[in-house]
Amino acid sequence: MTALVSPTAPATIPSATPYLQMRGITKAFGTLLANDHVDLTVRDREIHAVVGENGAGKTTLMNILYGLIHPDSGDIVIDGSPVRIRGPRDAIAAGIGMVHQHFQLVPVMTVAENVVLGQEPGGVVIDRRAAVRQVGELSERFGLVVDPTARVETLPVGVQQRVELLKILYRGSRLLVFDEPTAVLTPQETDELFEILRGLVAGGKTVILITHKLNEVMAISERVTVLRQGRNAGELETAKTSPAEIARAMVGREVLLRVERDEPHIGEERLRLDGLKANSDRQLPALDGIDLTVRSGEIVGIAGVSGNGQLELAEVIAGLRPVTDGHVFLGGEDVAHQATAERRVHGLAYIPEDRQARGLVLPFDVKDNLILGSQSRPPFAQRGQRNSEAVEERARELIRRYDIRPPDPEAPAESLSGGNQQKVVVARELAENPKVLVAAEPARGLDVGATEFIHRQLIEQRDHGLAILLISSELDEIFSLSDSIAVIYRGRIVEVVPSAAADRERIGLLMAGGTIEGGTPSASQVAQAAASLATEPPGTPPPREAGSPGQAGPQ
């Protein structure tokens, strides 16, 4: 990622006249004040970032602007005149276009059909040729390469986003709202998107960018409006602020953007993988002889481009995926063919990659989610009967210790924010004093505050002697937490290095397989891995393992 480039030159700001003003916007959902007298002022032809943690009210504010939600009170003024926006139709008429976080595209229809929907050329019958032509022209004019006749479901995510953008350009929108546009993009696609945004602003458009990624704010925006818990928490000039200042405004206190940790006190071997092999869901070899050791008091980070066996590795250790060959030693005992429950008794804990699908039973309340896996053991069950008091007591203790909000043991897990859901998972997994923790993408999708909290917990547990295997596709996370880094490529650990001695460029290159092999899927992986590094790759790739024959890598 082109991290922290200086923002676009102030010269591109033509005037200080506000193009959009939202004043005193208030919206309550039940007792929750999602927006509490929020003001937003966006100048003509600027890229304006709206930042805040999850649940700060960013998306609510934008949905109000787009007419999807009706505010309880507040005014919207566009170009000096007040407007009433009762629905998307009014918003479109007022020149507002929105690229939603979850794409609003009909997968089975073509690009052209998706773009013109609602404003189709022709009379009763659609002039389909005109639709294709107009969309083609539009995509050419704005440099958004896409085939108008392609079906949307066949397009990669980055291209689908261009279709979303074409939709609002087709409607002649002047104010373009992007809700977390980079969440689904690779670093390379993100750079491309930012180039497009700059081009649009140069062409007279005004852009609002909703995000919680600070490096994006610094890289592209001119001004920032910060929201916290539904209220304004600051309006900053990007050029005159710093990530730390924005983070402080977002969270309301000092935030450590870097995790502090002491030297590890490494103890005995806790987890050892020996020649471990397993298949992917499609029954292709996904793990091709993994050898790895994690000891007490250390965090071993698995670095790799997604799809190189990380997911399978976590599942195999957790007991969710059969081992085809090799051993999993947990505290010296081979558990490779034991059930999940037995492994947990041996002290294994697991933070799954997808907390909503795997980590929690969403409709269940917090207290039941906090004892999942231990529900049939004392003290939670006695002689086959559930001991409600013990369950309650455990819940209250963990809610307090992990600051789970709302502090209500009866709240259904699905009503919690992503960060609090993850706290429930982490609290439960650490509650039984495990010996080994497998943490897969523990901070995925979490905001600054929640990420910091989760990371602190991991470090604290490591200091208490827990052996942690950390799997993450965020190289920053790997580097800031791990004591040693193991690079996985095509189901093999290609190198293990102490993180103090690890070199980002080299790790990135190893992630990409060391060399570019013609015609294999690794070409795009190389691009991805290279893009996740700030600098140019060095000349000589390490020869090890790269391109060894006979490996059907995970696709």
């Binding site: 629905g87 998307p88 939603h100 595209l105 059909e113 929907l117 609602g118 189709e120």
Partner: protein, 313 residues
């Protein structure tokens, strides 16, 4: 080789093929209605009830006015009215659409039985109700075989056949058709572009009622020339099967209806041949089960079919 001969004789009968078209007509109308409704995202299993109500009111209004246009109009409108109930339940009230559809089927059965008893308790429906006209095509009429098959079909049979390309054109070539399909696949996407999800869905559900009502009119005013309790006897469900069999496509649904119509016609034509006609009468239902058991390959419904749309979530 007796059976082979019997079948050969029957296949050569124009009656078999004319019957196929006649039996397929009400199924086609109901199935096309179903396609339209489900393409907009509203599951409709209430074609049976809508047809039944349409059939009854065709007879009631026909007997009172002796006017075929009024009788047909009444059945179509009653079908539409019943469909509106389904629309309100499944669009505004976000009820389970299967339950709502089933409720309408049961309600229609009860209502028509009750009204039947109320109006024609002892005597049965009057015989002086008007009939839907047949279409006599002069030149084709005199061609051997072909003339006997299509030279003298009922007007509604032709309407049902013409409705197939018209429905296709409506759904796949018009602006409103694109919006309907978008609403059935991804209502939120349509909503964010200012397309009214509710308006599209009401339109389509009511259209399905109009189509089914017409199918009912045909059953009462042409096929049976009377009304009797539960006279649709599952035609609406066969139409439902045809719609799925035809993969929610007008042409596919029509071909499925032809197949089911052929099964029924074959059953009639086998009567008196010594072949167990109960078995043959079961053919369309067996075909239905085979069709639904995935024999036709995986049928993919519109993505938002049966999912109520909630504004502003």
């Amino acid at each position: 080789m007796d059976i082979v001969n019997t079948f050969a004789t029957i296949l050569a009968r124009p009656d078999l093929w004319a019957g196929t078209l006649r039996f397929a007509a009400p199924l086609t109308l109901a199935a096309l209605g179903g396609v339209i409704s489900e393409r907009s995202g509203v599951v409709n299993i209430a074609m049976e009830g809508m047809m039944l109500v349409g059939a009854f009111f065709a007879v009631l209004v026909g007997a009172a006015t002796h006017d075929i246009v009024l009788a047909t109009l009444a059945s179509v409108l009653c079908g539409g009215l019943i469909a509106t109930f389904h629309g309100v339940a499944s669009i505004h009230l976000r009820a389970n659409q299967i339950v709502s559809g089933m409720a309408i089927n049961l309600f229609a059965l009860g209502l028509t039985s009750f009204l039947m008893f109320r109006f024609y308790a002892t005597s049965g429906t009057p015989s002086d109700i008007p009939a839907l006209p047949d279409v006599n095509i002069p030149v084709i009429n005199s061609i051997p075989f072909v003339g006997a098959v299509i030279g003298d079909l009922n007007s509604i049979v032709w309407v049902s056949i013409l409705a197939v390309p018209v429905t296709w054109w409506f759904l796949f070539r018009t602006r409103i058709g694109l919006r309907i399909r978008a609403v059935g696949e991804h209502p939120r996407a349509a909503d964010t572009l200012g397309v009214s999800v509710f308006r599209m869905r009401y339109l389509c559900v009511i259209l399905s009622g109009l189509f089914s009502g017409l199918g009912g009119a045909y059953l009462a005013l042409s096929v049976a020339h009377s009304f009797s309790d539960n006279m649709t006897s599952g035609a609406g469900f066969i139409a439902l099967a045809a719609m799925i069999f035809g993969k929610w496509h007008p042409v596919g649904a029509f071909l499925a209806c032809l197949l089911f119509g052929f099964g029924q016609s074959l059953g009639i034509n086998l009567q008196g041949t010594g072949f167990p006609d109960q078995l043959v009468a079961a053919t369309p239902y067996v075909l239905t089960v085979v069709a639904l058991a995935g024999f036709v390959g995986r049928a993919v419904a519109p993505a938002a079919d049966g999912v109520p749309y909630e504004v502003g979530e």
